[in-house]
């Protein structure tokens, strides 16, 4: 993201463009990350509905994974993924993704 000097920053702390929060990567706050097991996922979209950061990537009705630039690692997706499925595991940031 462009970092403006104080003279170029819009005054009064206002944000002049809509949707600018997409450009602001907040994933760095995360301590644990969601990992998807695509083989188990039934594309029910519950994780997409519940994710408070809109960090679940969906295309053409398919759950594809996570936008880790914005995911905060809250674990709500893993919690809401149906009990019979449990396709999401929360792992520590530094842990390898071993789920095949």
């Amino acid at each position: 993201m462009m970092k403006r000097g104080w003279k170029e920053t819009p005054i009064r702390g206002i944000i002049l463009e809509a949707g600018s929060s997409h450009d602001y990567a907040t994933g760095g706050w995360r301590k644990i990350k969601p990992v998807l097991d695509s083989a188990k996922c039934i594309d029910c979209m519950l994780c997409w509905v519940f994710c408070p950061d809109s960090a679940v990537i969906v295309e053409n009705g398919k759950m594809l994974g996570f936008d880790l630039e914005h995911c905060k690692g809250c674990g709500i997706c893993a919690e809401e993924c149906p009990d019979k499925v449990k396709a999401i595991t929360m792992l520590a940031e530094e842990e390898e993704e071993e789920i095949a």
Binding site: R4, W6, T9, P10, I11, R12, G13, I14
Partner: protein, 400 residues
């Protein structure tokens, strides 16, 4: 002279009623207020104008001063011209919102009718309330008389809304002493005020501009907060020139001169008192008495406390031998009042600095008379003679 024709002089009004009358002539879009002594009659009188249809203002009666300033902030962010009034505990309750108003650069004009802060509970004049808010990013103008209060309110609108500033302005006048005393003053006709303040146009999309949606009051983390605050500092640096320019323009329509400060008998003075608001009038009488005795004394009355005109103040005091800064508020630093410490600091750059003392006076409405000022002048002349300061910081008008 056209200025005289347009102005209705010798109208007898109290300070608060004069402020309300100025507000009527300004006809702000929104006034949100909560009553508190001694500012109450400003809004009380203004609400009659609203009820009578003399103004088109939306008057929002709220449940506290915190809400009053919050409503002012919301309305100002929506692009409205906004005014309010308060005093003392009311200003204290607005505290967190004062910083939001200035940080969001909302040109709100607020009259602060100066009153002491509790405890002990006291409804009378001192400057503890507005002095406490001195670092909140608001411009502060202090008024000696009813006329000055009226004139400052009209000028404040132009100052606040100036494109280089967009800063909230606090117009201060002394509780009861000025707010409730009737003085003769000149008031303009409505059209002159309208012409002077002009239309208010926000130069950025407002909160209600659905064509250009914007976010107001967003979070700014360490990567952007300081840029915003630096802009606020720059606006305050620019404010000195804007206040001076607006005063010059105002002089053209009113015939009354305003600047950053008033200098009274200062040109050849050896000793000077620096004092703000109504007590400056009392001090002028003392200056006249001392002058009759052949003693060279003068008075410096700052009108603008924020921004602090440190260069001009140092210039005004550079040839004075001994100076007393009289604060109607204490900062409880054990060093001196708020006006004193900033003036003393302003003098630091001078090669030859005057001796300077801090005297706290008149807290909670304690009377300050001509004799009090005379005593200070006599002390100053002694300091000039001996070159010695006995007490840097002390109280006067107090029973020992």
């Amino acid at each position: 002279m056209t200025a005289e024709k347009k102005a209705k002089c010798s109208t007898g009004l109290t300070g608060n009623i004069a402020v309300a009358y100025a507000m009527k002539q300004i006809n702000p879009d929104v006034v949100a207020a909560y009553p508190i002594t001694p500012s109450t009659t400003v809004v009380e009188e203004f609400s009659s104008y609203v009820a009578d249809g003399a103004v088109t203002t939306e008057l929002i009666t709220v449940e506290s001063e915190h809400s009053a300033m919050s409503a002012c902030i919301g309305a100002a962010a929506a692009g409205a011209r906004v005014m309010t009034a308060t005093s003392s505990q009311g200003l204290a309750l607005m505290w967190e919102m004062l910083y939001i108003a200035s940080g969001m650069r909302l040109p709100i004009v607020m009259t602060c009718v100066n009153r002491a802060l509790s405890a002990p509970l006291n409804i009378h004049c001192d400057h503890s309330d507005s002095m406490g808010a001195r670092d909140s990013g608001w411009i502060q103008l202090y008024s000696e008389t009813v006329q000055e209060a009226y004139d400052n309110v009209v000028q404040a609108v132009r100052i606040a809304e100036h494109g280089n500033l967009l800063l909230p302005v606090m117009v201060c006048l002394d509780g009861f002493i000025t707010s409730h005393s009737i003085e003769n003053l000149c008031v303009f006709d409505d059209d002159t005020v309208k012409g002077f303040i002009g239309e208010y146009k926000l130069n950025q999309p407002s909160l209600l501009d659905v064509e250009h949606p914007t976010s107001y009051g967003a979070v700014a983390l360490p990567d952007s907060y300081i840029e915003s605050r630096r802009q606020l500092a720059e606006a305050m640096i620019n404010a000195k020139d804007v206040i001076t320019d607006v005063a010059k323009e105002y002089e053209k329509v009113s015939g009354r001169h305003y600047g950053l400060m008033e200098r009274y008998m200062m040109d050849d003075a050896d000793a000077a008192i620096v004092i703000m608001s109504s007590a400056a009038g009392t001090t002028k009488v003392a200056v006249d008495e001392m002058r009759k005795r052949g003693l060279k004394v003068g008075l410096l009355k700052p009108r603008v406390f924020r921004p602090f005109p440190y260069i001009e103040i140092a210039d005004a005091l550079k040839n004075i031998k001994s100076v007393a800064v009289l604060d109607r508020a204490d900062s409880y630093s054990s060093f001196g009042g708020p006006l004193f410490t900033e003036i003393r600091s302003s003098l630091y750059e001078l090669d030859k600095r005057p001796k300077i003392i801090s005297r706290i006076f008149g807290l909670g409405g304690r009377e300050y008379g001509v004799q009090d000022a005379v005593k200070i002048f006599e002390e100053l002349l002694k300091i000039k003679e001996t070159g010695k300061v006995d007490k840097l910081y002390n109280y006067i008008t107090v029973r020992e």
